[in-house]
Amino acid sequence: MALLDEYRVGEDGAWSDREAAHLLRRAGFGGSIPEREAAVGNGSQEAFRAAIAGLVDYLPDDPNLDAPSGVGVWGGPFAALPDGDTDEGNTKNPTEIMWLSSHLFYRLRFTSQPLQEQFGQFLHDHFVSEFWKVYQGVERFQGGCVDVRAKTAELLLQQNTLLRRIGIDDFRETLIQISRDPAMLFYLDNVVNGAGAGRAQENYAREIMELFSMGVDNYSENDVREIAKCFTGETLPNIRDCDGGFGAPDAFEYGFRDGNHEPGEKVVFGQIVTEDMTGGELPQVVDLILSKVSVQPSVQGLPAPYNNLPAAAVYMSWKLLRWFVNQNVALDPPADAVLELADYMRGTDTGDFPQRRYPYDLRACMYKLLSSRYFFGEANYFSIVKTPADFAAMLVRILDIDYYRGIYGDGPANRMEWMGMRLFDAPDVSGWRQGRRWINAEYLAERINFVERITSWYVSDEWIDDLQVLNGGSLQPADHAGILDYFIDLLVQDDLEVWAPGSRTLLLGYMAEVADRFDDTDRRFQVQVRGIMYFLMSLPVWQMK
């Protein structure tokens, strides 16, 4: 039986709160108690499939956040935010990097399509464009014509929207479009490839292979040089029209400038790329990239059908598995799950979704992955370190508290930065390092400090008082074990004693000590509840998902 066969309710395990919680932590930003109940439904195979489909089959526009007309026109709660230079106005229409981060956090907080945003985070990390570098490019060419900071923010938002809308579908199309995305053209310098005399510039040629599709060492240095030639002239042809101080309206629109293109035939992976002076070489190169058989890791010697897997299918499968299933999945030698998913990814079916419709249909791959027996394997629970965006968004969504404003002090953009993640500003072109490398003395301390701040200032007394009511009156202040169990269910969503053995005794000890110190019942309850939340979200297991 294959790892990626569908999870069979009953044979492989239950479809209950525990499995639903695992799914919602990975395919979104965690589930509240009602969200988990809705996902479980009647616990049947059909309910399981419905939950997966409900996550995977999302629309390009979030019905809760987007009006169906593209960038900069917001629906739902976005539309309700005021315009103008306020925290909320700037979050709605970001004009600089921290507001971009705030904008994206707002999406994570309020999206009704959580996988769209989690997949968006995956793509944001995969197709990196750093703000400062895009800013430099905008300034160099259009510094005298536009508000450079605001234009940079606009271009990065445009890129983010592109990836959010189409990134889960045809990976071939995404590769072509991201190559011609203005922010990417600035970020990896292809905007000036071929602009001057001399040898074609290699930045984008290398990274489209190494980081965006195939993984390192599946190409030669000569391939890099040849592809660099193919990409000459892929640019923003009217970007230089600012020289006279007048911005051209189409300055930031992609086009092909044949005058910058290096003519002649090129040879990539030993195959001919036909000369095309109208921009047709880039799609040829993308097709060659997606079909090149993997050398690193080597698939030679593997049994059929794995012995001719394309490098891009192997690499992208590994990246999906690492992001959504287990951070320790191995690329070299490839784990069995990597090979299985890669073989599925490169194939074609004639059936309708959820079967794959064409090669590199990532939505079908996500359906396959999330509904697999492998995904629900015990070893994959709590096996990925939350990113700071996960950490902040999960906390706020699960608690359903009023926290999203601002970029200084307590603002989410600032707090995520303190935890090591400034959105739109990855450390380099390979994105954030992920896994254990999110955790060091300072970043972990800032996670704990964030929890302290939220539980002290944003979890209101009223929120705590409501618990006694909301929970059908079953949360009795004197019932320490009952209170603790409620928060374990709400936050950890699993058996705490498995992940933090002995913690229950300590937490009950804390509650008892608080009870000794506070005579006032309401006050005592508030201190206990805030403390329990603080401890649970400071635990190592809450750093994981």
Binding site: E202, E210, P427, L444, A500, F535, L539
Partner: protein
């Protein structure tokens, strides 16, 4: 069970006595008295400066007498205002004038032609080699221990964990824990960016002992255990960072993260922290396009060199004024150099061999490693060929600066003929045998080329 800080310490669960929860790895955790008695020689300090993105060594140390250089770089070649090093061949970039007084006094060495065989032009793969200090695919990489971490383990083997200072190694101004310092079996180093804000908020005093206790549990996975240990490190270092932060600044530093990193290292050293190895990062060196303005003395890459030079100058001045100059050895490294010829975007693509700068009382002033050979016929695929293997440079630091054994750190690589330092011989004599007695102007040495 109620718990107070006192009970907790009485029970032997305090912030130092700590065993690995997972039981697989002997775990360091200590906040000890100062005065490390481990294998480290006196109070010598190494500061590693990572120039991320691949620094253009040929536009850092300018081979101003070489026509091949100007032929390959009609636009980017530095034509004037450079600072000659007195060997008739090389000069520092015009924006690095702040280092000249250190050069003249013998506190700056340049090691030329540093690299490794069959260089990989991926940032990340090549950087891995440099940070692991190991051959591609070697066991050292598989284990995930950086070269400094291996050196640390080798040097401190047998030292009781509670005697290992919490700040033995420290990363500053990096976006994450660098591989170089990571993976030690004895010790987990901290990473910070801001000393003044480093703290753990508990909200109220009652919580502190419980937070500590909740991070000393017998957790079921190595990832969870790792997170616990990092929390323990954070607890153990809060006070140390506060002490360092309370040390006054002696002078201003550049505003970027590198300047901030060096400002903090100066405070840490002057406050008496016993850190042996520091790691700082300066990014932005991946200059594929518009590397400089029309005047190659200005623009993106020159600005980075200026930031580097000013930061180093300020730091060395701090060390001199506080009597610490003789203790420090600073070494820059970068994942690769740049292509010799410039490209159509007024930049340079990924290349091969590169130069390292070595500074401080531990530097043996001079240009070492031979002259870069830019003859087009001698280039490898357009890139500068290496003469000095970077692991030899590391081994020199271990042997000549720390007076320790490099062979154990580099394992099988050490017996490879690429190493020039077997049998205790110094391959590239860039370390000053008598630190603090530097003499200038720099002696021109060299063992290759």
């Amino acid at each position: 069970m109620k718990l107070t800080r006192r009970d907790f310490i009485k029970a032997g669960l305090g912030s130092f006595a700590y065993l690995s929860a997972a039981g697989t790895v002997p775990v360091w955790l200590a906040k000890s008295a100062h005065g490390l008695s481990s294998g480290f020689i006196d109070d010598r300090i190494l500061i590693l400066v990572q120039l991320g993105g691949g620094n253009d060594g040929l536009n850092t140390v300018i081979p101003y007498e070489d026509d091949n250089y100007y032929h390959a770089r009609p636009r980017l070649g530095v034509q004037n205002d450079y600072h000659v090093l007195g060997d008739g061949l090389n000069a520092l970039h015009p924006r690095m004038g702040g280092l000249m007084k250190w050069w003249e006094d013998g506190y700056l060495s340049v090691i030329q032609n540093v690299g490794y065989p069959n260089p990989n032009l991926s940032h990340f793969l090549s950087n891995d080699f440099y940070e692991y200090g190991a051959s591609p695919g070697s066991a050292q990489q598989a284990v995930g221990r950086g070269w400094a971490a291996r050196f640390f383990d080798n040097n401190c083997e047998g030292v009781p964990p509670e005697q290992i200072p919490a700040l033995s190694m420290l990363a500053l101004s990096t976006s994450e824990m660098p591989i170089t310092l990571a993976g030690s079996e004895l010790y987990l180093p901290p990473r910070v960016s801001d000393l003044s804000s480093f703290r753990i908020e508990t909200g109220n005093e009652l919580r502190a002992p419980y937070l500590t206790a909740l991070n000393r549990l017998n957790v079921p996975t190595s990832d969870l255990d790792f997170i616990q240990r990092v929390e323990n490190v954070a607890e153990a270092t809060v006070e140390e960072f506060m002490l360092a932060d309370n040390t006054p600044n002696l002078r201003d530093y550049p505003g970027g993260s590198l300047g901030e990193g060096f400002r903090n290292i100066s405070k840490l050293i002057r406050s008496g922290r016993d850190t042996k190895i520091y790691f700082v990062h300066q990014g932005g060196y991946d200059t594929h396009a518009e590397q400089s303005n029309d005047n190659p003395n200005y623009g993106e890459h020159p600005d980075l060199l200026s930031d580097l030079s000013v930061s180093l100058d300020r730091f060395l001045s701090d060390m001199k004024d506080s009597g610490n100059l003789g203790k420090v050895l600073i070494m820059t490294f970068s994942e690769f150099g740049r292509r010799v010829d410039e490209n159509s975007s007024h930049g340079t693509d990924h290349g091969g061999a590169n130069c390292c700068l070595v500074l401080g009382g531990g530097a043996n002033g001079g240009v070492h490693g031979g002259q870069p050979d830019l003859d087009p016929g001698r280039l490898e695929n357009g890139n500068l060929a290496h003469e000095v293997d970077f692991r030899t440079v590391y081994a020199n630091v271990i042997e000549d600066w720390f007076k320790a054994d490099a062979s154990a750190v580099f394992g099988a690589d050490y017996s490879d003929p690429i190493f020039g330092i077997q049998s205790g011989q110094t391959a590239v004599p860039f370390v000053n045998p008598n630190p603090g007695t530097n003499v200038g102007p720099g002696v021109v040495g060299g063992c290759a080329g």
